[in-house]
Symmetry: C3
Subunit: 345 residues, 3 copies
């Protein structure tokens, strides 16, 4: 385990040291789990009370807490505690697992596949006909890359990822285990002979710097492409249906789902378990609250909550109804008394 | 890329040509993505306004739009535009990926397994003892078929599907990647010694023409069988618990879930993210809205919304409450004034 | 198929025989599916009416039903029918699938891995550098165990499970197919250069006797560990985010999700599709209803419903609003009449 002192750590995270610079640090931990050789952090002044009970020897604090009582600890004051703590944690982290370039003898790589330089292909991975894989990419054990799919440079597919045929994956794309890209979209036409499958003849295109979480699924388009643009980050167990388009730098949190042909703008946040209806447009920067379901198109910048999703104002009007109704009830009782009084006259 | 002209296309989709029959078509696309060599479609007259901005050279239109202005385009009037466009799109689609019959040398097939004619078993697939696989079936790379499971004819299991032991899969069943069939149902008895696992000794039976989406799970029965009847279509990331029965031609959309021992009728539609409680009965043709949760049995044909799900009438009564309460509030204010007036007398 | 008589069955389940002890039983089935050679069960007196239509020859009944009319059937009165039926079903179940110890020649086991006694490693499984696997553990076909991960004794990983590097799995842990343990948590910092990945340098620790359902995902910690304590039972398609802690014997039902750093107590029940916000504390024994979303910490023993989740009392106040509003409306109409009457005077 690495060991540095508080002064060195302050330098590393570009923060200002307050207190004992010689204190040894060999671990990054939450305030709760920290011991005297740990560095922890408090990024917001509203969490100041948590400083009382932590055993952390060194705490990265935000500027507002620079004058909080040290109580024998060492503070490092940082502009961005969250980022600084990430740097500190990296300093004590075990070395990353490295996949040395090479194709494992148990991998099955079609002779027509074009494999770039410094590519790693893990045990029991399967690379089909006509696949192209760019330099520096890691294809984990048990992955399947379907016919004529192209994968860019410096991608990292963890173990047991599935990418079906003719998809286009950009550079520096991370696919976590269990991800399924390019299975058929869900399309059936009701006919007198029953439900008939609508051929899904399109593809999935994923642009650069996208990360997709474990067991998430992205369906191939009915025609054209399902398209995830650059820098989009998708969490686990998310469902992205056929012909969906997701704009740059949008964030899709766990277990959310987007129905067919919806268009999501840039910088959108879909919180956990939220849903977006098919064939609607979600403007740039829209934020959809957790478990909320967006049934109609939303303009840029809208913050939407509930099912069906409403604006914050509408949502609060609905949410506070029980209190309002109680108030009306007592007002009516009051009126009733006054009327009874009048009737007596 | 294939190229045909509008007159040929009209013949292919059995539609009536209006305008230039010589126009070249080499692509099927949405109205938005279309260029002058594309065919696109407008299936309902309410979307007529979309005709204004599309660049599509040829548009399949419904009968109601037969007299809409051509503006230099070619129309093909169709009885069922959705179906006709599917045919058109198929015409320009790349050739499908074909899995030529044969067992890949890296597949692990138990000597007791009975493999039919013209079966494909992909790289690193594992077929256990006593499995039977019918003629013409495709078992993708990395699939696992457990002991004594039977798979019918002309099935297609995409890469990395898991089917556990003793399950029964019919003919023409499609399982998309990441599907898990036949893992243990979720059953534990609370005892003084803690939670004790209830053995799940039943199976999963899937009848003909069923399609199941990526990363969906179907649990084996506690006893007897979990049963998905013919022509049922299941989307991605759906959860079907032990001893559930699903009637013919029902549709289960992404991320919905059905708890243990629920019985779903024929032709039921469970929309995205909806849920059905355990041990209840869902009548034929019931439609459960997206994200809604059905807590009690529903009669045939019911349309249910909300959590817990209610009829449309009940749902709307709840949904319009904020307006109703505002109205009551102003009525009360009005009465208050009138009473004050009376009290002055 | 095994065959015993009712008297033998009564002995086996430690129940009291009423009626013909010679009746043959060769099957366990639900009341609906039972035939005359089946044993079924009625665990609660409120289900007595189901006895009328069943064809079951032998029925395990609870004490309250000991005097119900036999109608030619045999009853076995049991203290705990649910448990007794589990024993009975086990008696007629097909023999379990046994994975004989041994490493399949197609498995890829790193030479530094330490494999215990009587371990089974299935076809195409991949065991990376420095892995340790305890005695009697079963690693199914196609599983991936990442670098330096330790797995305890008598675990059972079904086919196609993924456990990433440096995780710690205890004894008697069951991981169903498609489970993904230890992929990166979802953490990104917004910067002027776009979203930057926060390194996830922690691990996942899973204690003894945990069972995890198909296609569930458990993310590795940002630092420290994501921790599932002993005897926790997790259903299918559940999302457990980074740094979550789950207390002993808690139950997580299908498709629920827990956001980052939430702390779940002991004996908590999160019902199907429920959600828990990040960074909150859920007290021991809390029950969160299906589809409900807990936004704030809940004290021990709380029963919470709705989104955002409320107490039962608050939930019912909200749920019964339509009726209350209708009542207020008629009260107002009544007052209006009385005022009009007064105004006439």
């Amino acid at each position: 385990m690495k060991e540095i002192n508080a002064a060195e750590l302050a330098k590393l995270v570009n923060g200002k040291l307050i207190g004992d610079g010689d204190r040894k640090v060999c671990r990054a931990a939450s305030l709760k789990d920290a011991d005297e050789n740990s560095v922890s952090f408090v990024a917001k002044s509203k969490y100041e009370h948590l400083l009382e009970s932590t055993k952390a020897g060194v705490v990265l604090v935000c500027k507002d807490l620079a004058n909080a009582p040290l109580n024998g600890r060492t503070f490092i004051v940082c502009d961005d505690c969250d980022y600084a703590f990430t740097q500190a944690a990296g300093c004590f982290a075990p070395p990353p697992i490295v996949f040395e370039p090479g194709i494992h003898p148990s991998a099955v790589v079609h002779p027509t596949a074009k494999i770039g330089k410094n590519v790693y292909i893990g045990p029991c991975a399967v690379i089909e006909e006509g696949v192209e894989i760019g330099d520096g990419t890691v294809i984990g054990a048990g992955c399947y890359i379907g016919h004529f799919t192209t994968v860019g440079k410096d991608c990292k597919f963890l173990a047991n990822v599935t990418v079906s045929f003719r998809c286009r994956i950009g550079n520096k794309v991370i696919l976590n285990s269990g991800v399924v890209i390019g299975c058929d979209g869900f399309g059936f036409l009701p006919t007198p002979q029953g439900l008939v499958k609508v051929p899904q003849t399109g593809i999935v295109q994923i642009d650069d710097d996208v990360e997709i979480g474990a067991n998430t699924t992205v369906d191939r388009a009915r025609f054209g492409k399902t398209w995830i643009k650059s820098n989009v980050k998708v969490d686990n167990l998310v469902m992205i249906a056929h012909n969906v388009v997701i704009g740059e730098s949008s964030i899709l949190i766990a277990q959310c789902g987007i129905a067919g042909s919806a268009e999501i703008g840039r910088g959108v946040i879909l919180a956990a378990k939220s849903g977006v209806n098919g064939h609607i447009t979600v403007g740039d920067g829209v934020q959809l609250a957790g478990t909320s379901s967006l049934a109609k198109s939303a303009p840029a910048g809208a913050i939407m909550l509930g099912t069906p999703a409403e604006t914050q104002r509408e949502f609060m009007a609905r949410h506070t109804l029980p209190k309002k109704v109680e108030k009306l009830k007592s007002q009516i009782a009051e009126l009733e008394k006054r009327i009874a009084e009048l009737e007596k006259k």
